[in-house]
Symmetry: C3
Subunit: 313 residues, 3 copies
């Protein structure tokens, strides 16, 4: 694997998932990463991604260097040809090239601003690193994708499914703040690669980018979509059409026991952090149907599987 920036970087998904499951059962192999360094650069906060990736790297024997780039380092310029006379002190050309000398893999988290759709879709940060780094780039969630989360999600569904081809519903839920599309985008793309029956439920005005949803069926009636679901992935995202806007915040779409009853006793997933009683109600999160903690645990093994592939080149 050369990079892990989006799901197209995966060459053999079943093999990668099998690797992750093996690593879950037996963490050993600290030789592969010995003498290798993972540099983790955060433009945004992170708990699970930060700790699970750091842990995964150390389980592989790697050294890890973590930077909150905005506070620890210098503001970076990502556009070419700029006269850098304002607040950006360093260009990605230098930063990526230099980091490639200190690190064997560079992991980057960079959220979108949710103000300019074209700019966010251009993935300036991730593509800047990809273009100018000479070592593999690992996406820790970018403007439009979160492939490590998607691999975790696939792993969780494979582990917990009880039928060969489960029905998986991605349902929108309310949230007070405008959230990115990265997690639902990558989840949809990952499910499209798997042997599941996928559909999406969201209010009108909240359809995801149609270039990503493609032929996946989108319901604007949540109850309709949830029928017979084996897995329900609950997640908020802001409007893609009215880019970055929060169109709806009432609790109609909050996922609760009543909605769960409309499913096939579904397992309930979420990437976390989850706002209780806004996105998912206590009565679901505290029930046996919730697998969010199990799912979060899989972050470590998904990260380990990907890091191994990147180390092997």
């Amino acid at each position: 694997m050369k990079n892990y920036i989006d799901l197209s970087d995966i060459e053999d998904l079943p093999a990668l998932l099998e690797d992750a499951l093996k690593l879950k059962n037996n963490n050993s192999n600290p030789e592969l990463g010995k003498g290798k360094t993972l540099g983790m650069l955060f433009f945004n906060p992170s708990l699970r991604t930060r700790l699970s990736t750091e842990k995964a790297a150390k389980l592989l024997g790697m050294e890890v260097m973590v930077m909150n780039i905005n506070s620890d380092g210098w503001a970076l310029e990502f556009e070419d040809g700029q006269v850098m006379d304002s607040n950006k002190a360093e260009h990605i050309k230098e930063a990526a090239a230099v980091l490639s000398q200190y690190c064997d893999i560079i992991a980057v988290r960079a959220f979108p601003e949710l103000k300019d759709k074209e700019r966010d879709n251009a993935e300036l940060v991730m593509n800047g690193f990809k273009k100018y780094a000479s070592v593999p780039i690992l996406n820790l969630e970018s403007a439009t994708g979160h492939p490590l989360q998607a691999l975790t999600d696939a792993l969780t569904i494979i582990e917990l499914k009880t039928v060969k081809r489960p029905k998986v519903v991605l349902t929108w839920a309310p949230h007070p703040k405008a959230l990115p599309h990265a997690v639902p985008n990558s989840f949809v793309q990952m499910m499209q690669k798997m042997d599941v029956e996928l559909c999406i439920a969201n209010p009108e005005g909240n359809d995801l980018n149609s270039e990503i949803t493609n032929n996946t069926k989108v319901f604007h009636d949540q109850d309709e979509a949830l029928k017979n679901a084996d897995f329900v992935y609950v997640k908020n995202w802001s409007s893609y059409e009215n880019y970055g806007e929060v169109l709806k915040t009432d609790e109609d779409w909050t996922f609760n026991q009543e909605k769960l009853r409309g499913t096939n006793n579904a397992k309930v997933m979420h990437c976390l952090p989850v706002r209780r009683n806004v996105v998912i109600a206590d009565d679901v999160l505290d029930s046996e149907n919730s697998v969010v903690i199990h799912q979060a645990n899989n972050r470590t093994f998904a990260a380990q599987a990907v890091l191994r592939k990147l180390l092997k080149g």
Copy 2:
């Protein structure tokens, strides 16, 4: 040991102190912590606690992951049943459960707000982690206690005492800001477990929580209390009665050479950081009576002894 949240978690104090002294003489035993991860979560600043605990863990062979939770991660909700529609993005239920999967021990620092006595006494943060984590919790200073500091203090007194049952005086000293009661609380509780003659000196209005001081004699006349002292522990704390208020800032109670002369050539202790010439005068801190640097060094060995106990379960 299941947790180290307050001094009641200690099963056998003499054995624990002996362990710490042994570790001080010989740091080796990197096998016990091998493959284990300490997660350190800071809601507040830290120098000694951060570095001594990180060092202790690494001396035991552990990996350490450090997070400044407010800037690196997500604001946490600690109350149950909340509709999380404001600024708190993650509930302690999820955070503690997830961290328990990435870490073998979770260490937490969370100061009180000093505005609402009952809320601070409820120890929401520490108890939230204790309730929802499935791994041991290590208190790096909470709203009402600092048991790692207290173990360090006990160790220092045991090492440096020249009589079987020394007189130990905890004396209040002025400070411009409102400080927590955690350090004096835990110091008092620890001394009550030891073979020392303990008394407390503080101005009227600054008595500590009587449920903690219990039968320990409290003087409002500092000179009276200091007589024949073998150890003087100097420390500021805000009012407990007029909760969180700074009632007195003049230098009457600043500990200086003149006051030292009223003791039995006492050794002078402080948990650090100490404001010179406000809490303790230069002429004491720069004298041979000051053992504050020796005391700070013991932080590493107290932390090692506790981490070993927690690793052994």
Copy 3:
């Protein structure tokens, strides 16, 4: 080596440079640093220095603890005899003594304020640590010097020179913000120790401290200075005479292809971060004459060579 605070701490420069080159070819020797801890304290941002020094220490087998002192720890007082009743919570006397117990080497970055020349020249922070620490101090860039950068620069010139005694020109370039003199100061001092023909080019009003430039020729005509240059080190600094002022920001002195043509096909150096098209133009940075990435890579080996010397004492 007892400390590495300024270039006078180097006992044998050719031997040190040879060590660094050897380390570049073969990174192994993780035994020397085993069980030793490097504490890195940052009062200011850092990317290259942070990561290259951390990496260097880990390559030597050391544990590394990193603190952003302002946000992670306590504000430090560096002046003696103060009544510490304002915002400084800890005195350097205690901080340095305590850190000396947790760390085997203390590395410190502390920029000048560029407001009070005498205060900056006094190097309060670095000298405070030197005075009160009992372990070696490593300068990660102080008010007036950046000796790790200078060693990197020397290494780069030795590796890339094609004549025995190259002509090396340090040229000022514009920058929108007031920058310190640390990098040019240490570069000049290092070149003065080497077998090169050194001169400096800067606008009137921007002469460096004459106690440092000494007999080194200073040109106020950039073109004149650049003639026959084998190496051009481009760098901005604020005025030393009108201390900390930015006297000139127009692009007359921006280093570009036209200026490069006036040299002996010079190699172009910069310590990074560099503001493109302000300090150096794209047409130079993206040309084969630029060695800034090569130079940044040498940071790791310069740091390793110095850390080895400090570990050996």
